[in-house]
């Protein structure tokens, strides 16, 4: 075997190792479980899939200052005894390398009731699942600052997850105001 062949074995072994590496994911709850946790008194969840128009997308981006990655909004109207209880919105943002699946519950007053992490696929940064950190979003409305190190505390070592979730909640509040309210 020549020097070159020996040397080529390094990437040749690493790339298959990387490709076959098992995906690391922690699923904390399903969509149904999250709906029950976030709207415990609700007895019905009516799915509403919205495809954003370019106008709506622009309006959301202008209002939130956050880029809209997907035109499809996955939302459920929660109700109790036929009376509206609020909106359950399902979304994904990047952590550092992988998507974080999370949900935001918005009350009938337009304020965040709860933020839950449904699936976190990375090890570092999972502190964003911490209840105290998520509680910072409760009461936030469309138009609020929602910026890391201002009204939302950062967690060192989880900066990108914190930033992207904060941006995500801000974008969903603007989405709610633009198309669900």
């Amino acid at each position: 075997m020549s020097n070159f062949d020996r040397w080529m074995m390094v990437p040749a072994l690493i790339i298959p190792a990387a490709a076959s590496a098992p995906a690391f994911a922690v699923q904390y709850m399903t969509v149904e479980q999250a709906q029950k946790v976030m709207f415990p008194a609700a007895d019905a969840f009516e799915a509403k899939i919205v495809s954003l128009t370019d106008e709506q997308k622009n309006a959301i981006e202008t209002a939130s200052g956050v880029r809209v990655r997907s035109n499809e909004i996955r939302a459920w109207r929660a109700s109790q005894g036929g009376k509206a209880a609020g909106w359950f919105m399902l979304d994904e943002v990047y952590g550092k390398h992988e998507f974080i699946t999370y949900a935001v519950a918005i009350g009938t007053d337009g304020a965040v009731k709860d933020v839950e992490i449904l699936e976190y696929r990375e090890t570092h940064g999972s502190e964003v699942t911490n209840a105290k950190w998520r509680a910072q979003f409760v009461g936030k409305k469309a138009g609020d600052t929602l910026k890391l190190d201002e009204d939302i505390r950062n967690i060192s070592g989880a900066t990108l997850s914190c930033k992207h979730l904060t941006d995500g909640v801000k974008r969903l509040l603007a989405t709610y105001a633009a198309v669900l309210k």
Binding site: M9, A18, A21, F24, H97, T123, G125
Partner: protein, 301 residues
């Protein structure tokens, strides 16, 4: 030898497979650095392997090994220590003052390095990321000839980083100054003139500048390109040589490990001299090679 290599490589592959799927610190580039530091209390072990080959004449292949341990002392300050190794295999190419004789050195310990990095602005939180990086190294082998040479190097870098598109696109810009003091040692068993192998001390200053872009094409995968300009100055001749290297890179970040691979061929270069018989006169081939490839594998804990 071949059997040993196979065993080592299979062992490495085994470790990588069993480590599968974790988050990593970002080292999106092979040669350039970003402005982020490790979080407080986090550590990283990185193995760098660089292959340098092809000087146009003769047969020349060198490997540089760098084993790095980095630790985050605060969220903004990290330090690292490195063990350096190298091998040079050169045949049929002699350049006075640089490559005095054929050699097949095999991989040998060559020196130690320490570095510190301080982050002023975070690319994730601030509009613009900025850090300074300083390093000091002592090496006892010449990376070009493989012969004995005591060398002390101090580097200072300014590292800028800007993230775009929700951190999906990362730009870095690096500017560095490298100061070197070196003394070539006599070669055992060979009589050399001062022309062939000068043993008087020499001092050099190099200015380095680099820029790179990396784009996250899929979860865990970044693809990009980087370029590096390197120019050296010396008292007697002023600008002694310069080169521009540029090429593509790929980065994979898993759960607790990552790898980055960069191919960085030399695109242009020159200086006050070329070696006698050098045919590619638009390249700097006295100290550099036509081709370089670097692989870095890191483990976070």
């Amino acid at each position: 030898m071949v059997r040993l290599d196979r065993q080592v490589l299979l062992g490495v592959a085994g470790v990588l497979l069993s480590a599968g799927g974790a988050q990593a610190d970002e080292a999106l580039f092979g040669y350039l650095k970003g402005a982020e530091t490790l979080p407080k209390g986090a550590s990283e072990l990185v193995q760098h392997l660089t292959r340098r080959w092809d000087k146009g004449e003769g047969e020349y292949t060198a490997y540089d090994s760098k084993t790095e341990f980095e630790h985050g002392f605060t969220d903004r300050f990290s330090g690292a220590i490195y063990v350096l190794g190298q091998s040079v295999d050169s045949k049929g190419l002699q350049i006075d003052g640089y490559i005095p004789a054929d050699i097949n050195s095999g991989m040998k310990y060559s020196g130690m390095e320490v570095s510190a990095k301080y982050n002023f602005l975070s690319p994730a939180k601030d509009d613009f990321g900025l850090a300074v990086y300083v390093s000091g190294a002592y090496t006892q082998l010449d990376p070009h000839s493989g012969q004995k040479k005591d060398k002390y190097t101090v580097e200072t870098w300014l590292l800028a980083q800007k993230n775009f598109l929700d951190d999906q696109l990362v730009w870095v810009g690096n500017v560095g100054l490298e100061s070197t003091y070196a003394v070539r040692l006599p070669i055992e068993g060979m009589t050399m003139t001062q022309e062939q192998w000068p043993t008087t001390p020499e001092m050099e200053i190099a200015v380095l500048a680099g820029t790179g872009l990396s784009y996250r094409v899929a979860p865990n995968w970044f693809v990009g390109a980087e370029a590096l300009y390197d120019t050296e100055f010396e008292t007697e001749v002023g600008q002694e040589r310069w080169s521009i290297q540029a090429g593509p890179n790929v980065h994979y970040g898993a759960k607790d490990w990552w790898f980055t691979a960069t191919w960085l061929p030399q695109l242009a270069g020159g200086g006050f001299e070329t070696y006698p018989g050098q045919t590619d006169t638009n390249l700097q081939l006295i100290e550099k090679t036509k081709q370089e490839f670097r692989l870095k594998v890191g483990f976070n804990f």
